[in-house]
């Protein structure tokens, strides 16, 4: 009888169940309560893995879309970023240049303090005359209105000798570098007991290379590459004890009675920015190796390069 009743009214029963049960569920689940019900837990258990899987799938699709398809505006943004990048690179380079300048000036100041016997004035390099092979032949300094700067004065840095003031006109002064063919400086090889003259070679293809004429008589120790060549101060132009350069070849060539060694200058002229001009210094009295004294000591010096010569 119940079965017949169910069969006859199955539509109505189904309708009531489908419409009333959700209402009951809403009533139960709408109440404020702690924790979740069995129905919620079961639904979560069924739907959570599906939602997670489709979520991952959609994330992948969105990733493909945003990474490979939806690139509208990327070109403009890229141009903006490139411009920004250029600006930042410029700033970084300026900062680096300022840092370098600060380091150089610090070293120059330290050198100036160490050489307190010299009276020097600072100057900035404003121009370089270069050959077609990019060898620096001459530098120009901005000396301003400093009257004490005169032709013939030595120009030095903390690294060593640069050259001498060749010509001054107004606020500017041209420097003849120690590598110039006309340049000569009285020199000694540190710790080797020999003196001579460091001359510029001035050859087009021998960049930054100069000749030194040295007397080898009575030499105790062999001359080796890397040996520092220093000024003696006897020429009354360059103060004593400044580095001119270092020996690059151990084997000398003969030029008459002299031995010639090739030097590399201590100063890199191409990157020179700040220098010191020696406006006054005390020559090492009594140390001038006169030809007679040199002969006594069995040392041979080129007479043309002594102050008297």
């Amino acid at each position: 009888m119940i079965r017949a009743l169910l069969l006859r009214h199955h539509r109505r029963i189904l309708l009531v169940l489908v419409l009333v049960l959700p209402l009951l569920s809403m009533y139960v689940h709408g109440k404020p309560r702690e924790g979740s019900t069995l129905a919620e837990r079961m639904l979560l258990r069924v739907t959570s893995p599906l939602a997670a899987a489709t979520g991952a799938f959609e994330d992948a699709l969105i990733g493909i879309w945003t990474g490979y398809v939806d690139l509208v505006g990327v070109r403009e943004r890229n141009a903006d970023l490139e411009a920004q990048n250029r600006e930042l690179l410029g700033e970084a380079l300026r900062s680096r240049a300022l840092g370098e300048e600060l380091r150089r000036v610090k070293r120059l100041c330290a050198f100036r303090e160490a050489k307190s016997e010299l009276r020097t004035v600072p100057a900035r390099v404003v121009g370089r005359e270069v050959s077609q092979f990019f060898r620096v032949l001459r530098v120009r300094l901005d000396v301003g209105e400093m009257d004490e700067v005169q032709e013939g004065q030595a120009v030095v840095t903390h690294d060593g000798v640069v050259g001498r003031i060749e010509k001054r006109s107004g606020d500017y002064a041209d420097v003849m570098l120690v590598t110039d063919a006309r340049s000569a400086a009285h020199a000694t090889i540190a710790g080797k007991g020999v003196v001579g003259t460091a001359r510029g070679k001035g050859k087009q293809k021998e960049f930054g290379v100069e000749f030194v004429h040295l007397d080898r008589a009575e030499r105790q120790e062999p001359i080796e590459p890397g040996d520092a060549v220093l000024t003696t101060g006897h020429d009354r132009v360059f103060p004593a004890g400044l580095e001119i350069g270092h020996i690059t070849e151990a084997t000398p060539s003969r030029a008459g009675p002299y031995f010639e060694y090739t030097l590399t200058p201590a100063v890199t002229f191409a990157t020179l920015e700040e220098v010191l001009i020696v406006v006054a210094h005390s020559a090492p009295a009594g140390e001038l190796p006169a030809p007679e004294a040199a002969r006594k000591q069995r040392l041979r010096v080129d007479p043309a390069n002594t102050p008297d010569g």
Binding site: H10, R11, L14, L15, V18, L19, L21, P22, L23, L24, S25, M26, Y27, V28, H29, G30, P32, T37, A39, E40, L43, L44, V46, T47, L50, A51, A53, T54, G55, F57, E58, D59
Partner: protein
């Protein structure tokens, strides 16, 4: 079997819909799959199996959303199915335009029912304004999605109908 296959299809669509609904950025663009299910089942399904399937789709939507009390979407699914049965007697739901129009109107009614149930059973719900503001775009999305979804489900139903016909022929031959 046909209704079970349709149910699986709708569950798949709900699963795809769920992550989008959780994203505030995309929620207002997501079509209402439950409305599609209720209207499709109401227009193509059998009475009893269709009603149960529509309610089951609603129950799954309850499971995926869990923002509303369990039963809200089940009720909306069942009511939507019954309403479509009534509308289907006067409107040709096999044609594209009436189908789209029914889906659009159905979305508005479903949202209204949702808000009504929320108001009655779920006092904590407070986003009525946002829900009303999102309805037009959701309705538009539902209308646009209706035709491809219905076409796909028709193909699925046709597969089962053909299978049943073949089984009937072979039974008669035996």
């Amino acid at each position: 079997m046909k209704h079970l296959a349709w149910l699986l299809c709708f569950v798949g669509l709900l699963a795809l819909e769920a992550p989008l609904l959780r994203s505030a950025e995309h929620a207002w663009l997501v079509p209402d799959v439950l409305v599609l299910g209720a209207i499709y089942l109401g227009s193509r399904g059998d009475w009893a199996a269709g009603l149960l399937t529509a309610a089951a789709v609603g129950l799954f939507k309850d499971g995926f959303s869990l923002a509303a009390p369990v039963g809200v979407f089940t009720e909306i699914g069942a009511l939507g199915f019954l309403a479509t049965r009534l509308v289907g007697q006067r409107v040709d739901l096999g044609s594209p335009m009436p189908t789209m129009a029914t889906c659009g109107v159905g979305t508005f009614i479903a949202t209204g029912l949702f808000l009504l149930f929320e108001l009655i059973f779920h006092r904590a719900f407070g986003a009525f304004e946002e829900a009303l503001r999102a309805v037009p775009s959701i309705a538009l999305g539902t209308m646009l999605l209706a035709l491809p979804v219905f076409a796909g489900l028709d193909r699925v139903g046709a597969l089962f109908d053909r299978g049943e016909r073949m089984r009937g022929v072979s039974r008669r031959l035996r």
